[in-house]
């Protein structure tokens, strides 16, 4: 089947039921998309499929056929997406494991809602767990980008 990952066409011949997460990590060595739970509970595997945030751990690769998949590696050329810059300025990460998923989730939010309210940020981000507890900084980083663009 034909996949498009970060703008590159990929021909995939393996198990169509394999979750996109494992195709990305094990077949394509795109390890920025993380395994955290395997059942769409933590958001560490969040990628964009046609611009929408999706949990790659619960998405059979067949569902991504002929769709545009973007991972953290493809979000920006030099790691300079406005959210990545804000993450850096506010020094959000602790261990950092969940942050690619957090950034992908936040990027999908801001792509459809440039000026989210606190409640809208909560709704969009509550599927992404950060066990280190960087939530106040994630929120501040999202708001700094939303504030800058509004």
């Amino acid at each position: 089947m034909k996949l498009t990952i970060n703008g590159k066409p990929i021909e995939y011949t393996g198990d169509p039921q394999m979750p996109l997460l494992w195709v990305l990590r094990d077949e394509l060595n795109l390890t920025g998309t993380k395994y955290g739970c395997g059942i769409a509970q933590c958001g560490a595997c969040t990628v964009h499929v046609n611009g929408m945030a999706q949990r790659a751990c619960a998405l059979p690769v067949a569902a991504a056929e002929n769709q545009l998949v973007v991972t953290i590696e493809g979000l920006s050329v030099d790691g300079d997406h406005p959210l990545q810059t804000a993450w850096k300025d506010i020094q959000v990460p602790q261990c950092g494991f969940c942050q690619p998923g957090q950034i992908m989730q936040a990027a999908a939010l801001l792509a459809t809602n440039a000026g989210p309210t606190d409640a809208e940020i909560d709704t969009a981000m509550s599927g992404n767990i950060c066990r280190c507890g960087t939530y106040p900084r994630i929120r501040a980083a999202i708001k700094s980008v939303a504030g800058a663009s509004s």
């Binding site: 993380k34 395997g38 790691g79 261990c95 950034i103 981000m125 992404n128 280190c132 929120r139």
Partner: protein, 756 residues
Amino acid sequence: MSDLLQAPVFDISRRRFIQAVGLGGIFAISTQLLSPTRALAAIGGTSATTSQAVNLFVAFTQDGTVEITCHRSDMGQHIRTAIGQIIADEMEADWERVRIVQALGDPRYGDQNTDGSRSIRYNLDRLRRLGASVRQMLAVAGGQHWGVPAGECVVANHKISHTKTGRQLDFQDVINRLVTMEVPQEAAVMLKTREQWRYINTGMASVDMDELINGRAIFGADVRLPDTKVAVVARPPVVLGKVKSFDATAALAIPGVLKVIAIPVPTAPLVYQPLGGIAVIASNTWAAIQGRNALKIVWDNGINGSYDSRAYQQLLEQKAREPGSVIRSQGDINAGLAAATTRLDAEYYVPHLSHAPMEPPVATARMTSTGVQVWAATQNPQADQAEVSRMLGLQPAQVEVHVTLLGGAFGRKSKPDFSSEAAYLAQQSGFTIRLQWTREDDIQHDFYHTVSAQKLTAGLDDQGKILAFQHRTVFPSIGALFSTGTTKPSAGELSQGFSDSPISAPNLQLEVGEAQAHVRIGWLRSVNNIHHCFAVQSFIAEMAAAAQRDPKDYLLEVIGPARRLEFDGMGEPYPNYGETLTRYPYDTGRLAHVIHLAAASAGWGRTLPPGSGLGIAAHRSFLTYVATVVEVNVSSSGELTIPKVWMAIDAGTVVNTDTVINQCQGGAVFGLSCALHAGITLQHGAVEQSNYHDYAVARMNEAPPIIEVQVVASDALPAGVGEPPTPPFAPALCNAIYAATGKRIRQLPIGNQLRS
């Protein structure tokens, strides 16, 4: 250093150091270890608690880049940055030309067990001296280059300047001189003054920041070696259970599944041994997981098969109602209680907890002609060396352990059972193996935080003043992991918020009961401080309510006047996290100070609308003082929101100010997770939870949007940062809930208690 020299263990280290290298003094460059491009500065002796041999931390590459070795594991506390700050500052390196290298597991570095909130405590002084010795060597090298006295040379920001002529050299110009130079004697090493610090005590960003936000950081599962196979293990659902029989036919029929291998049955005491079970090795993770699901295994559940955590709770609670062994006693508890006009009794319960770091345990192992290589997200690579070598029948030195970034750890990853599994499977299969724990494995086969019941009793006089305080604690000990049949907690476990009670009561008695362990008990961020601080700080607020006093004022009153606690009436010395009370006193004045700071910033005493309330708690743990104020709102239907949290921390000297703030914020959210939903329960010896849906940790919509942190400016000796922010959160939260609703939470998790 002189303080460290007083520790007896250090003398052993120094003796060994002198024997090994044949040099006196503390510093030595071990020239036989140098390559032309690397100058290695070395220091003999290590922390107060370990160890042997020479540590190597500083190297130069040909272009003058300073490579600083970080020997501690980074799990989000940014120790790689902090160690860089310390050494680069003292040696006057330009931060833009510093690169951090992660150490292999090697006893030469001294203690690498990144646990117990002690990386800075163990290393600030010795690594400052190490950096300063390099700075002095650079001045000597400059002097040699120009033929002038070293005293005329100044080292600053990667340059050596000759003060009289204004001539300058870059560090890279003198590398060849450095590698042949003698190292200054300890007495000759001059530390920078605090005023001269350029990196220490600032909030510099993580050295790994770019990789952490662009997806290129390498965590445990991100290690990519050629031709690696993935293994997933079906472990016995009950601790010390084993495989009775199994059928792997269906598993082996799954495309991609390559081999099925049984892991040896461990024997008690378990220590860090793998739990046994059946491993499925496949060409990718998905196939390995499917293969494991297809295994048909009949288990023998063994001696823990009857463990039921609900029945066990009742057992612990019953124990806590009975007299236990007296750990500390002052005055006469019975007389004090008899004289009281008001008597309060309360029982507290905290369940087993799971670490649930975002990245579950992972290790990669590859056999070599000389031993085995392991890449692991480990907190303690020397433990990986010890455990893997035992499992494989090798010597520790034959196990080369590479430490990746840790996707969270919280104590879980200092127990390297996962590395042993990976290495064993590599040995047995001949493949390079990436051993992946699933989230279900992580939740169901953890080294759990202990489960505890406590009974607290207080007697107050007619003015509400405390006359008598009795505290009983009962919980299975971590010691059972290391010594079968241990039923009494160690002095170290009891020292965490129990035997070190700061309560100033004329009559005080602390008692401990016995309890058997039926799961692997391990340390989880803050360890026994979690349950002890929860009970004590909640109970003090209960006393305040009974005395009709303000909880903050009452807390300060029971702590009493500023003094250094002597822990009179204890059978054995207070362990004090391995430090003497001279170096690290328990100073109630510092505890009171953080209470005042947090309360003031929270506007303590202000009037809040109905359904809202403030709660306060304070605690000393890992030698650090933290106070937390939580504001809550509880709706009429019992829905809890936390608009804001204020914290104050006195950790002595701090290296990275922003890391301290980040750890406080994160520690509060970790405490929130402990309080809100989380709890491990077992039936028939098996854990009932399996993933984040039924072992719920705090999410953004539950977390306080603002956590304000004040870091006390201090030149006291450095103390812990990673763990101390967690313990006061749960009692501060529950005290706030009481202020808002009049409902007292005595059992965690809070769960649905506010809805009833």
